[in-house]
Symmetry: C2
Subunit: 267 residues, 2 copies
């Protein structure tokens, strides 16, 4: 949380770059050898680091093909080359007791992530084991950006599940290390979450390919201090160009996003 | 599903042995070298295979320490040494679109699991990608066995989330490859789920250390044909003895469980 607030203030940015590298979409400039996958990820990190408040690698893109060592190396690279930028491991784990503790160990010790996304379906016992690492964060799913999410998260009308999660997160947040996921595609729900959780940071997917509107996100989600949001972009940055200029293009998209945020919030 | 039904009928067993190997609790008989962890898991599999309808490795116990290769080897061993016993990978993944597809690829291709546990919080989009593997199964969390689960899963009273998941699972089950998790610790909810989903198999954690009652589980959960349940036991089998007789002890606990099920259902 300290790293995040530091980045918000010192760099005036709300951007999180999601590292979801599709092996089939790597630019030819990184080659096609065994090192191409990691080289691409590192290049995106280096090109966008000046413009971000966080990086968010998605573990499935690594685990599906046994690339755990590359994920370890990538997160190590962020910490070494860009100290002070927190890494949110997007794993959406959800289990209890010893198993949750092992997932925390996986995220915080093996991968050295600063925070990890967690699913609330199993209740408080799926969140508490992570608090044994008081200097790390937990990002709890609350209102996700996909169309099918309403089926459970907006049920029942009037007092929906996502609000129940937000209220609980506020109660569970004894260590000031909880965040919530609030999708850009439902800006009014995002505003409702903001009203329930005060200054708690919100991770916001759904800008870009999923059609979320940045102005709406800012108007509903910013705190009174004009902060509190970690707005994720993945594909729009990663695949800004598939030519040899892919790094410059990724950096440009990230920089433009920051400029747009500044314009919209008048900072 | 075919493998499961075959095991239910040919072996007259509802037992699933959960493979949650705690590195700190390995019996000294397996040694302490780098091969001890996998040797322990294989020994438990071999000792209990005659008595089970499924095995359920829990991925966190492997992933926390980078033991993915051992998990691959363990599942390969089940398929080779005990063909016909389905492997349920307990991963409780929950994501959408490309990411869910990659988690399915991880479970079904990399690990060659026959089924995988999935979290319903993100809705139908987090389940559908798995159906691209029509010969594999999805085990959706519905009513979990832990005390803290009621907070979300029994909300709101009268028409709770877990029933909403059960009703949806029945609708989504076009390929006859869905199961639900229904904890032994809430047998009346288990009965309610059974009433909602017909013959759909239910994976039942919570017997043993968590205090679920087997007679209650059977009376509320069995189908009209006296089947439909996959009852998980982990620690009671894995740590039946920590002496050199750990394999025989594990086999004995598994056999006794089967005898008890036969007695209770009068088969």
């Amino acid at each position: 949380m300290q790293q995040l607030r530091q980045r918000w203030q010192a760099r005036d940015t709300l951007l999180c770059v999601g590292l979801d590298p599709d092996i089939k979409r790597l630019p030819s400039a990184v080659g096609s050898g065994p090192g191409a996958f990691l080289a691409f990820c590192r290049a995106i990190v280096d090109a966008t680091a000046p413009y971000v408040c966080a990086f968010k690698p998605q573990i499935a893109y690594f685990a599906a093909q046994g690339r755990e060592a590359e994920l370890e190396a990538l997160i190590r690279h962020v910490h070494e080359a860009h100290p002070g930028i927190p890494v949110i491991l997007d794993a959406k784990r959800g289990d209890i007791g010893d198993t949750a503790r092992l997932y925390a160990e996986e995220a915080f010790e093996r991968y050295d992530a600063d925070a990890v996304t967690v699913n609330p379906y199993l209740g408080k016992e799926s969140v508490e084991p992570y608090f044994a690492w008081p200097d790390r964060g937990v990002v709890l799913l609350c209102r996700t950006s996909n169309p099918g999410s309403a089926w459970l998260q907006e049920y029942p009308p009037g007092a929906p599940v996502f609000e129940r999660v937000a209220v609980a997160a506020r109660e569970w947040n004894q260590h000031d290390n909880l965040m919530l996921v609030a999708g850009a595609t439902y800006p009014e729900d995002l505003g409702r979450i903001r009203a329930l959780v005060g200054e708690m940071p919100l991770l916001v997917p759904g800008i870009g390919a999923q059609g979320g509107d940045l102005a709406e996100v800012l108007s509903h989600g910013l705190t009174g201090e004009g902060e509190g949001l970690v707005v994720n972009m993945s594909r729009a940055v990663l695949y800004a160009s598939n030519g040899s200029d892919f790094e410059a293009a990724a950096g440009r998209v990230a920089a433009e996003f920051c400029t747009e945020v500044r314009r919209l919030r008048g900072s």
